[in-house]
């Protein structure tokens, strides 16, 4: 099992989400985050004084998937999040030691399976 953590532009989210749904990966967590990297800051002027804001808004996506699905997810994110400019973001893949589904107490890869109807419902 792997945890995929991606930091992307807000614009890229919708196409990524749609494609992952179609591929049968409806499960994810997202968060609005602010972070800094190579992208330049934004300077705000206020009554002649200025402050540079180095932390730019990004969207963080977390996806827990089976080892075999990692490349599919990563490719989808790369495909839609890349504009070619500084600030497109990053993807990190890290191992997951164990996973539990709280409702049933199941553990392991079983917890990563989407509900059979989820993808269909999302499409409809």
């Amino acid at each position: 099992m792997k945890m995929i953590t991606a930091y992307i532009r807000h614009d890229a989210f919708e196409p990524i989400r749609s494609e992952l749904l179609e591929l049968g990966f409806p499960s994810m967590t997202i968060a609005d985050v602010k972070g800094s990297g190579r992208q330049k800051g934004i300077t705000e002027q206020y009554r002649g004084a200025s402050v540079t804001n180095y932390l730019r808004p990004k969207l963080k996506i977390e996806c827990a998937v089976s080892d075999g699905d990692v490349q599919t997810i990563v490719d989808t994110i790369l495909k839609h999040a890349r504009t070619g400019n500084v600030g497109d973001g990053k993807i990190f893949v890290s191992p997951i030691e164990q996973a539990y589904r709280i409702r049933t107490g199941e553990s392991g890869e079983e917890t990563l399976q989407a509900h059979p109807d989820a993808a269909e419902a999302a499409k409809g």
Partner: protein, 495 residues
């Protein structure tokens, strides 16, 4: 301005009613002559009228607040400061240009197309014989009375200009505002006002019925908006890959609601003030008619929103109020109260499907095209249906439902078409030139970052966009700075 003949009629009625009690009291005093009474009444009437026009002008200027917060409420939080700057700059440009050029072209008498007096208005200047103030009986020499009228008319052009920009939110370059504002206030609006309000357009020999400007102010603004939005294109993300529209919700519905009610209140100056006279308190009737129109608009839009969307959409209900007010603007001085409620109701029913329909192809963030455009057209045409015999002026006919036939309706239609053509052609040409020279639209990056930071270098809501940590100090490590600040104040004795 719009009913020069009414004033005389009102005056004689008032004199007649005054004469009755005076006749009874006259035994003890020298009997007043008709001439002395008329002189006294005219003087008082004129001062009271000037006060009413002045108050109305201020009410209409208050509507700028309404337009500011209506647009702010319907915009996203990253594009709000720019709206404040825009309203202030446009209003100021309009003030100067209207004084220098626009007023003279619109109301300064003259020939078929432009006026020939009243430019750079100043006390003691002479207005042409056919100028509206002179026709209203203010005299040819410019005095305080002229200035109240001037200010009132300025408030109208400023409203019309403010209407243009609602459809251009969140993507237009700021430089487009001042350029178009000059053309609009100096040329576009005055040409329309000169045709319709100064009576130079009289199809079939009839005078157009547009009491306070459903066409002159609202359709004019909306037509300018259409020209702008056609050249500007939709906001990023408005239409999906499948071509279907997606919502870009405004960030503050309470501010939108505040704006709607401010506009509603301002409209009493807009319509009731357009009597440009306090004589006979005819403005009371116009005010009630206006209120009924707005109420009809809310009810119509609420019904239609429930019918089409199954929910009571807050924005639609608010737009219903504005749509009702826009529609009742032209007929407000010509129709009975019952008709006002009907006209407003129909406007409310029209604008909900219109907004939804326009939204499918054109990105109009606040619904200008439906609320000011279609409701403005409906309001102008509705005069041709509902105008009563008693309220028509010389050279006008009553409406279709009051036995006046379809002639006035046809004349109203000509006014709508003429207004649209004048405004659309000049506006489209102006925006086209702006697009080809300085550019009409910001870059994609600027649009994503928001116009506040990209055009003005500052946010409307800084806390939402600048992490608190970064505000502590410029260029330093925020946590360390604040930690050492705490340490040094907490333990001063150790230093």
């Amino acid at each position: 301005m719009k009913r020069p003949n009414m004033r005389g009629a009102m005056l004689s009625a008032a004199i007649a009613s005054l004469l009755m009690p005076t006749a009874a009291l006259a035994q003890d005093e020298a009997p007043p002559t008709l001439q002395s009474l008329t002189d006294g009444l005219a003087a008082t009437g004129s001062d009271v009228s000037a006060t009413w026009i002045m108050l109305s002008a201020i009410l209409v200027i208050l509507m700028q607040v309404g337009f500011m917060f209506l647009e702010i409420g319907f915009a996203r939080g990253k594009n709000v400061g720019t709206i404040v700057a825009k309203i202030l700059v446009n209003f100021s440009i309009a003030a100067v240009v209207w004084w220098a050029v626009g007023y003279g072209i619109a109301f300064g008498g003259g020939g078929q197309f432009i006026g020939d007096s009243g430019f750079l208005l100043n006390v003691g200047q002479t207005m042409s014989e056919t100028s509206i103030p002179t026709v209203l009986g203010y005299g040819a020499e410019v005095n305080g009375m002229h200035f109240t009228y001037f200010l009132f008319q300025f408030a109208f052009v400023a409203v019309s200009l403010a209407i243009v920009w609602g459809s251009t939110l969140e993507r237009i370059k700021f430089i487009a505002y001042p350029i178009y504002a000059v053309v609009f206030v100096a040329v576009i609006y005055p040409l329309v006002a000169h045709q319709v309000w100064a009576g130079n357009l009289h199809p079939f020999g009839l005078l157009i019925q547009d009491f306070a400007g459903s066409s002159v102010v609202h359709l004019t603004g909306a037509t300018g908006a259409l020209a702008a939005v056609l050249l500007l294109g939709p906001r990023r993300g408005k239409f999906g890959a499948d071509g279907k529209p997606r919502p870009i919700p405004g960030h503050n519905m309470p501010l939108f609601g505040l704006a709607v009610l401010i506009l509603w209140v301002g409209w009493f100056g807009f319509n009731a003030g357009s009597t440009v006279s306090a004589t006979g308190a005819i403005f009371g009737q116009v005010a009630v008619v206006t209120n009924l129109g707005a109420a009809g608009g809310v009810i119509g839009a609420a019904i239609m929103a429930l019918a089409l969307g199954k929910t009571l959409d807050v924005g639609m209900v608010g737009n219903g109020a504005i749509g009702g007010l826009v529609a009742i603007t032209a007929p407000s001085g010509y129709v009975d109260p019952w008709a006002a409620a009907v006209i407003g109701l129909i406007a409310g029913l029209i604008i909900v499907p219109a907004i939804i329909g326009i939204e499918k192809k054109i990105d109009d963030p606040v619904g200008v095209l439906a609320v000011h455009g279609l409701a403005g057209i409906w309001g102008t045409l509705s005069c041709g249906l509902f105008t009563t015999e008693a309220l028509t002026l010389e050279g006008q006919k009553s409406g279709l439902f009051y036995g006046g036939g379809a002639e006035q309706l046809a004349a109203q239609f000509v006014a709508v078409v003429a207004t649209f053509l004048i405004v659309f052609i000049i506006s489209f040409a102006t925006f086209y030139l702006i697009k080809k020279t300085v550019g009409l639209r910001v870059t994609a990056d600027e649009e994503i970052a928001g116009l506040d930071i990209s055009e003005h270098g500052m946010y409307g809501y800084p806390e939402q966009f600048i992490p608190e940590a970064e505000l502590v100090g410029y260029g330093s490590s925020p946590t360390l700075t604040s930690a050492s600040a705490v340490a040094s104040t907490a333990k001063p004795q150790e230093v």
